[in-house]
């Protein structure tokens, strides 16, 4: 089948799938950022158990494969009387994964600042709160732009996990498998459309992230 035919038959599905992928990406990224900040606060807090919990969280979720986490959330949790809608399962999985990487990005940003700046801040009499607000957080945020852009792209790619559970409407990867198993002879076209949607968006995100990074980067 050609492009025209596929788009005529499944154009509406593609519109929904693009919206589904992008909205899931956006929602998951926002939640992931919020949790990443929380986890990072735990990891730099002076209280040992909280640090350990934060470190453990990051080690677990940056090392677990997405599919392994998804099956735990989607198929194991219901046995523990935690039943979530399919879409929420996917979103929870993606948020857990992305927040671990997000926290790593923040930690790298904080570490890059250097002990000397903190010591300097304290020696001119800034309080802990001031040091955080004026020295640490602005620099950590600025140097996190590029890694976070990559994380946004990675979050979008992770939402393809949605193809492993019955979603309605489907996202871009699940739709390819749906069309290809339904229409015999659909050929390569459904794959190409989805792939271009992903890759095009990824390139666009990368370009925008680079532009922002050039504006705000801290040159050391």
């Amino acid at each position: 089948m050609g492009f025209a035919e596929i788009l005529e038959l499944y154009g509406a599905n593609y519109a929904k799938a693009v919206f589904e992928t992008m909205s899931m990406t956006f929602v998951c990224f926002c939640f992931a950022m919020a949790i990443a900040i929380l986890i990072t606060v735990l990891r730099v807090s002076p209280i040992k158990p909280l640090r350990i919990v934060g470190d453990l969280y990051v080690q677990i979720f940056r090392n677990i494969p997405g599919v392994a986490l998804l099956v735990v959330v989607a198929y194991a949790l219901p046995n523990l009387k935690v039943v979530l809608p399919w879409k929420t399962c996917v979103e929870v999985t993606v948020v857990l994964l992305a927040s671990a990487f997000g926290s790593e990005n923040f930690m790298t940003g904080i570490n890059a600042i250097g002990v000397g700046q903190i010591e300097a801040a304290r020696s001119i009499g800034l309080t802990f709160g001031q040091t955080m607000r004026k020295i640490v957080i602005p620099q950590a945020l600025r140097s996190a732009v590029l890694p976070m852009t990559n994380l946004l792209i990675a979050t979008m790619l992770s939402t393809s996990l949605g193809s492993q559970v019955p979603l309605n409407p489907q996202e871009l990867t699940g739709l390819v498998s749906y069309i290809t198993t339904r229409s015999t002879g659909a050929g390569i076209v459904p794959f190409v459309i989805s792939a271009l949607c992903y890759a095009g968006t990824a390139v666009l995100m990368g370009v925008l992230g680079n532009l922002i990074d050039k504006k705000v980067r801290v040159i050391r």
Partner: protein, 281 residues
């Protein structure tokens, strides 16, 4: 890295006085209690839903269970290693294309790299599983999982290699050219060997992404760890215990690879170049 992390973490705070020390002790106690309560609640949920029953865990004491999981693990390792080798070769080739002085080749390589970096590996797997057979090419399930994993990794690896080549000081190239080596010889004899050494820790850390990507092998029914776990679940009717154990195995493997890459990076002094954040899929 961890020594540095600790020092930065600790640098944020002044040496605590008696009051702060007291507060820290109180905070530590409260947070310990909270963690304990959280853990207890989780165990309780396992208990009241009957997931702690011996029936769900006893088969892990049998050698057969572990042998079966081990067979799956061998499948995972096989896919991961072959995919790693293919993606290394493809990555180097794509990198050469990307830095080539022949514009059409450079543009083409760039498009290919961006494509494989910007497409989820699951979509590539569906390509080999659902699309390729339509054109009369029926691949064995091993290649239906290994090829997409290799392609997904090759895009990222090309960029890692390029970063490695860029990290070799310019003076090396200039010196090589000035003693009369051709540009090709300069690249192959001088720059590439050094670049490869620089990216070793990064290559190891990329292996984590490859291992993660292999977990979708069940889509093409290739017997890897995850696929064998699913079989185990049907034979023992135990979802929670098997999935948790398998998840733990994956976490430990990837943790070990990550630690190895960090140790190599520290020993050689070469940084880990990644996609900044690896693909968490």
């Amino acid at each position: 890295m961890s020594a540095h992390v600790t020092s930065m973490r600790d640098a944020l705070y002044e040496a605590p006085g008696p009051r702060t020390k007291r507060l820290t002790v109180i905070g530590t106690t409260i947070s310990l209690a909270l963690v304990a309560v959280g853990a207890a609640l989780i165990v309780r949920q396992f208990y009241i839903t009957g997931q702690l029953d011996a029936a769900y865990w006893s088969f892990f004491t049998e050698w057969n269970t572990w042998r079966y999981l081990l067979e799956g693990l061998v499948g995972t390792v096989r896919v991961a290693l072959v995919a790693a080798v293919i993606s290394l070769v493809l990555g180097v080739l794509l990198m050469f294309g990307r830095i080539s002085s022949f514009p059409p080749l450079a543009v083409l390589s760039r498009v290919v790299i961006d494509f494989f970096r910007g497409v989820p590996s699951l979509l590539l797997i569906y390509f080999f599983f659902l699309v390729v057979p339509q054109y009369g090419l029926q691949l064995p399930s091993f290649w239906m999982i290994t090829l997409p994993v290799s392609l997904a990794a090759s895009g990222v690896l090309a960029e890692v290699f390029r970063a490695g080549v860029n990290a070799v000081p310019k003076g090396q190239t200039e010196a090589a050219l000035s003693i009369g080596l051709t540009p090709t010889k300069t690249m192959l004899r001088i720059v590439l060997p050094q670049a490869l050494r620089i990216v070793v820790p990064s290559l190891i850390s990329q292996l984590v992404v490859v291992v993660k990507d292999t977990t979708v092998a069940y889509v093409v029914s290739y017997p890897d760890l995850m696929q064998n776990a699913r079989v185990l679940i049907t034979t023992h009717d135990s979802v929670v215990s098997v999935y948790l154990v398998v998840a733990l195995i994956y976490i430990l493997i990837n943790f070990a690879i990550n630690q190895l890459s960090i140790a190599m990076a520290r020993r050689s002094g070469n940084p880990i170049i990644s996609r900044e954040t690896e693909n968490p899929t």
